[in-house]
C-alpha cells in the first residue's frame, strides 16, 4: 500500500487546488456589511466560490478601509483589510438616492444570500431589510449580524467585538488571578469567530433551501456566538463557583501552561491524558512521576494543590531545556508542546507555506502579499484566493454591465447622477499610486483599454 503521507500529499496538493471544483459556485451574495463581523461571513462564502457583491458608499467606503494597525499602510491600502474582504466584487452606490435602491432591488432578484450588520432595525428603516428583500425574492437567505441580536431589550445598543467580549464574560477570563488587569482577546477574534458561525448558518440555510425550496432569516448575535465557547456557565451552575482567571495555566489539563525555556523562548506544553503524561514523564527522565500518588490519576493531578506541585516540576525542567530540544522530545515521545509563535514566525515558517496555511499570493493590482490560508483544508473543493481587496467602486462597471445587464448609456446616467461613485484621495480607498487604472480591463469593463 502507498505510504499515507504520499497519498495525502497528492490528495491535498496545493498546486492542483485551482483546478478543483468550487462548492458554492453559482451562489450570489449581496454584502451590505461593514467593518469585520459581517464582511468575514461573506468572505468565507466567497472563498468557497460564491459571487459576493460588496456595497459601499461612494467617496466614503467601509469604515475599516483606513483602519490599519498603528496607521501603517501598504501600497496605499490597509494590509489586514485584504484578508477581511478578498475575493469580493466592490461596488459603490449612494444609498440616499432612489435609483440606488432600485439597483439593489434588481440585484436582489437574482441573489441567494444577503449579509448585513447595521445596528438592528437600520436595514429595515432604509427599506433594504428582510421584509423588503424577501418580498422581492422569497427564497432569499438573509443574515443579520449584530452585537446583541435583533430582539431583546438591548437590541439597539451599538457594539464592537470588545463589547461582545465584555458582555459574554470572555474578557474577564484573560489575565492573572489577584490582579486588577484583564486582557481582551486580540485581533478582534470576537468578530471573526461569530462571523464564521454566521457563514456556517448560511451554509445550513442553503442546504435547507435545496431540500425544501424555502429561504429564511438569520439573527446572529456576536455575544451569543462567544457565549457558545464558554463551559464556564455549566461549571458555575454545577459548583456555584466561578473559574475566573487562571493566568497561563489551563486548569482542565495538567500540566498545561506557557513556560520559559533555557534559551529564553516561550513554550506551551500540555498533557491532556494519562497516556500523554506517561510519555512526558518518560521523556524528561522522571518515570517515577507516573506512579506518584499525587499525579498517577488524571483527575487527582488536576486538584489545585497537586497541580501546583507538578507545575513547579515542569517549570524547572523547561527552564533547563532549550525550546528546540523540548519540541524534539515532544515529537519523538508524543506529548503536546509548541513554541509560542509570533507574527514573524507565522509569516515565514516553511511548513505553513507548504501546507497552504500561509500563502504568498500574487495579485494583479498589488503584487505579492502574504495572507492566511483557510483554517480547514478541503481535498475536493478547497478554499482559494482569487484577488485581494480592491479600491472603492473598482467593480462598478462589471457588476452593472455583466451581472445586471445595464447598457453603456444607463451606466453613464448613473455616474452623472452620482448614484455610483468611486474613491477619493484617502489611503485605504484609492489604488496604489503606481497603478494605472485607465489600463485596467476590469475597472474599465466593456470599454477599450490600451495595455
Amino acid at each position: 500500500m502507498e505510504d499515507y503521507f504520499s497519498y495525502t500529499a497528492k490528495l491535498f496538493n496545493p498546486d492542483e487546488a485551482v483546478e478543483k471544483p468550487e462548492a458554492l459556485k453559482g451562489i450570489r451574495v449581496l454584502d451590505f456589511s461593514h467593518v469585520i463581523f459581517g464582511p468575514i461571513a461573506a468572505r468565507v462564502l466567497a472563498d468557497y466560490g460564491a459571487e459576493v457583491i460588496k456595497l459601499e458608499l461612494p467617496y466614503y467606503g467601509d469604515l475599516w478601509r483606513p483602519a490599519t494597525y498603528w496607521g501603517k499602510y501598504w501600497k496605499h491600502s490597509n494590509p489586514i483589510w485584504h484578508n477581511i474582504t478578498k475575493n469580493k466584487y466592490f461596488i459603490s452606490v449612494n444609498l440616499a438616492l432612489k435609483e440606488s435602491k432600485d439597483l439593489i432591488y434588481k440585484m436582489a432578484e437574482t441573489a441567494d444570500v444577503v449579509v448585513e450588520n447595521f445596528a438592528p432595525g437600520t436595514a429595515d428603516a432604509w427599506n433594504i431589510g428582510y421584509e423588503k428583500i424577501s418580498g422581492i425574492n422569497p427564497k432569499i437567505i438573509f443574515l443579520s449580524c449584530s452585537t446583541y441580536g435583533q430582539f431583546g431589550p438591548m437590541r439597539y445598543f451599538p457594539g464592537w467585538d470588545l463589547l461582545a467580549q465584555a458582555a459574554s464574560g470572555v474578557l474577564t477570563l484573560n489575565g492573572y488571578p489577584d490582579t486588577d488587569v484583564y486582557y481582551k482577546l486580540p485581533d478582534y477574534v470576537g468578530d471573526f469567530f461569530p462571523g464564521n458561525i454566521g457563514a456556517m448558518a448560511v451554509l445550513m440555510a442553503l442546504y435547507h433551501r435545496k431540500k425544501t425550496g424555502r429561504g429564511q432569516y438569520i439573527d446572529m448575535a456576536q455575544t451569543e456566538g462567544l457565549m457558545r465557547i464558554l463551559y464556564h456557565y455549566t461549571y458555575y451552575s454545577v459548583t456555584k463557583e466561578a473559574i475566573g482567571r487562571t493566568g497561563n495555566t489551563d486548569p482542565s489539563m495538567m500540566p498545561a501552561s506557557i513556560f520559559k525555556t533555557a534559551d529564553d523562548r516561550f513554550l506551551a506544553l500540555a498533557c491532556a491524558t494519562a497516556e500523554q503524561f506517561k510519555n512526558f514523564a518518560e521523556a524528561i527522565g522522571k518515570p517515577d512521576l507516573i506512579s506518584d500518588p499525587r499525579f498517577a490519576d488524571t483527575l487527582e493531578r488536576l486538584r489545585p494543590e497537586n497541580a501546583k506541585a507538578l507545575t513547579a516540576i515542569v517549570v524547572d525542567w523547561v527552564h533547563s531545556t532549550t525550546c528546540e530540544e523540548a519540541v524534539r522530545l515532544a515529537d519523538e515521545k508524543g506529548f503536546p508542546a509548541a513554541e509560542v509563535a509570533d507574527d514573524y514566525m507565522i509569516a515565514n515558517e516553511g511548513w505553513r507555506r507548504k501546507r497552504g496555511s500561509v500563502v504568498l499570493f500574487k495579485d494583479d493590482v498589488y503584487g505579492n502579499l502574504v495572507i492566511a490560508g483557510p483554517s480547514a483544508q478541503l481535498s475536493g473543493t478547497p478554499s482559494r484566493t482569487k484577488w485581494l481587496a480592491r479600491p472603492l467602486g473598482y467593480h462598478n462597471r462589471i457588476v452593472l454591465k455583466k451581472f445586471l445587464g445595464l447598457s453603456e448609456d444607463e451606466i453613464l446616467a448613473l455616474e452623472k447622477k452620482k448614484v455610483i461613485g468611486t474613491f477619493d484621495d484617502r489611503p485605504g480607498l484609492k489604488p496604489p499610486v503606481y497603478y494605472n487604472l485607465s489600463e485596467d480591463p476590469i475597472y474599465n469593463y466593456g470599454k477599450e483599454v490600451k495595455r
Partner: protein, 440 residues
C-alpha cells in the same frame, strides 16, 4: 408577561410583521432540522475540537454517534480543577448535546474496526483525531472508507495536519488547546508590555478554549461546505484541520503583519493596535469597557466625561493610536481619573443618554460612545437580554441531573439549531445503533 409576549409587545420594533416574525423566531418547536437525514460518527479521542464540531452538526439535527473505547473518551477527564459529576467532566457535559453513545475499541479490537467500517458506509460524516495515518494503518482511514462510500466526508483533526513534511515529522504529537493557541499565534499578542515584571509580560493564554473552539468551528464549517458539495454532486471529500493553524488562519493578521512589517508586534497590554479608546477602565464599583474609537465617538466621550480640554491634543485617531506607548498610556490615565469617579451604571447611562440624543441630532455629529459594564460569565447569565433570547438553557441529564448550558447560538426562522437533550453515558445507545444501522 412571558418572554415571548414581551418580545412581541415591547422588544420587537414597532410591532407589525417584523415583531411577529422575531417573536416566532424564538420558538424552535415543530420546525424542521437541517441535517435530520445524515449520520455523523465522532470517533475523536481526547480532543474537544472534534467533540465541538460534532456538537454543531448535532445541534442542527444530524444523528451524531460518539464512539468511545469501553472505558470512555479521555476527554471526559479534561475538566477544570478535576471537577466532575459522577466521573463526567464539565466540558464533556457542556458538549453532550443531542448525541448517541456507542462503545467500540478501535485501537485494539479488529472486530470493532469492522463494525466501524460498516457504520461508516451509512455515514455522511466521520470525525477523528487519531495521529495522522493511524486510522489508515488500521484499514479504516479515508482512503479505505471512501472506496465503499464515495460520498463520505472525513474530517481529521491533528496538530500539524495530514500532509506535508511537518505533519509527518510531528505525526505523534497530540493536539491540545493551549499548544494550538500558542502555535497559531494568539498568546503572542496578549499580555503586559515588555517593561512590566515577569511573568506578567510573558505571552498570555486566552482564558477559554480559543484554539479548540476555532478548530471545532472550522471543522464543522468545512464539513458543511463539503455537505453542500455532496448534496449537489454526491461526492465526498477529506477535511483536514490543524490546531497549529487555528487562530492565525481565522483572524489572518499575524501572517500579513509579519510579512509587511518584517517583524512581530510587541505585546501592548490592554491597548489596541488600531482603535483608541477601545478597552476597559476602572470605575467606582468595578470595570467598564469603553469603545469610542471614531473621532466623533471620541469627542462625545470627552464631553460626557468632562474632558473637553483634552480635545486639542487627541483630536485625530492618528493622535491616539498606541504607536508611542507612553503617550497612549498617558491618555489611558487621563480617562481613568474620570471613570473612577462614577459607578458602572452611571457611566453606562451617561453614554446611552448622549447617544440617544446624538442619533437624532444634526449638531452632535452622530458620535456614539459605547460604555458597558465588564461582566463575568456568571454575571452574564443574569442579563435579561439572554433570558428573553433563550441564550441559556437549563437541561437535565438522566444520570447527572440539572445544569445550565449556553445554547441557541444563532437564531434562524426556518431551521434553527437546538438542544433536544443532553447525555453522557458510555455505551448508552449501543443497542439502538446496532439495530438501526447494522440490522443486529
Amino acid at each position: 408577561m412571558s418572554a415571548r409576549e414581551e418580545v412581541y409587545t415591547r422588544h420587537g420594533g414597532k410591532g407589525g410583521d417584523r415583531g411577529q416574525m422575531l417573536a416566532e423566531m424564538m420558538n424552535v418547536e415543530g420546525k424542521p432540522e437541517v441535517l435530520d437525514d445524515i449520520l455523523v460518527l465522532d470517533i475523536s479521542s481526547a480532543n474537544f475540537a472534534g467533540i465541538v464540531a460534532a456538537s454543531f452538526l448535532a445541534e442542527f439535527g444530524a444523528e451524531v454517534v460518539k464512539i468511545e473505547p469501553p472505558d470512555g473518551d479521555p476527554a471526559r477527564q479534561i475538566t477544570p480543577f478535576g471537577v466532575t459529576v459522577q466521573g463526567v467532566g464539565i466540558p464533556f457535559m457542556f458538549e453532550g448535546r443531542n448525541k448517541r453513545y456507542m462503545t467500540l475499541d478501535i485501537r485494539n479490537n479488529e472486530e470493532d474496526r469492522t463494525t466501524f467500517a460498516q457504520l461508516a458506509q451509512k455515514a455522511a460524516v466521520v470525525i477523528e483525531s487519531f495521529t495522522p495515518g493511524e486510522m489508515d494503518g488500521w484499514g479504516i482511514g479515508y482512503r479505505q472508507l471512501s472506496l465503499q462510500n464515495p460520498g463520505l466526508i472525513y474530517i481529521a483533526l491533528s496538530a500539524y495536519g495530514q500532509y506535508g513534511d511537518q505533519a509527518q515529522k510531528s505525526a505523534k504529537m497530540p493536539d491540545t488547546d493551549i499548544t494550538s493557541q500558542a502555535g497559531s499565534g494568539l498568546p503572542a499578542q496578549m499580555g503586559a508590555p515588555p517593561n512590566e515584571p515577569e511573568p506578567l509580560n510573558w505571552p498570555l493564554r486566552g482564558g477559554m478554549w480559543a484554539g479548540w473552539y476555532i478548530s471545532g468551528l472550522s471543522a464543522a464549517l468545512g464539513g458543511m461546505v463539503a455537505l453542500l458539495h455532496r448534496q449537489n454532486t454526491g461526492q465526498g471529500q477529506m477535511v483536514d484541520v490543524a490546531g497549529m493553524d487555528a487562530y492565525s488562519s481565522m483572524v489572518g493578521m499575524p501572517a500579513t503583519i509579519g510579512f509587511t512589517w518584517e517583524k512581530s508586534r510587541p505585546r501592548i497590554g490592554v491597548l489596541d493596535f488600531i482603535l483608541y479608546p477601545y478597552g476597559h477602565w476602572k470605575c467606582k464599583d468595578g470595570f467598564v469597557a469603553i469603545a469610542a474609537p471614531r473621532d466623533h465617538d471620541f469627542r462625545a466621550l470627552l464631553k460626557i466625561l468632562g474632558l473637553w480640554e483634552q480635545e486639542d491634543d487627541w483630536r485625530y485617531s492618528s493622535d491616539r493610536i498606541p504607536d508611542i506607548l507612553e503617550q497612549a498610556i498617558h491618555l489611558h490615565r487621563i480617562i481613568e481619573e474620570k471613570t473612577i469617579q462614577f459607578t458602572g451604571d452611571e457611566l453606562v447611562k451617561m453614554a446611552l443618554n448622549y447617544s440617544k440624543k446624538s442619533a437624532r441630532s444634526k449638531w452632535r455629529g452622530g458620535g456614539v460612545p459605547i460604555i458597558m459594564k465588564l461582566m463575568t460569565p456568571e454575571a452574564a447569565m443574569e442579563n435579561r437580554q439572554w433570558l428573553i433570547r433563550n441564550a441559556f438553557q437549563e437541561v437535565e441529564d438522566e444520570q447527572l441531573g440539572k445544569y445550565t448550558i449556553s445554547a441557541n447560538f444563532v437564531k434562524m426562522s426556518e431551521s434553527p439549531p437546538r438542544v433536544k437533550w443532553v447525555s453522557s453515558q458510555i455505551g448508552k445507545d449501543n443497542e439502538y445503533i446496532r439495530k438501526k444501522y447494522l440490522n443486529v
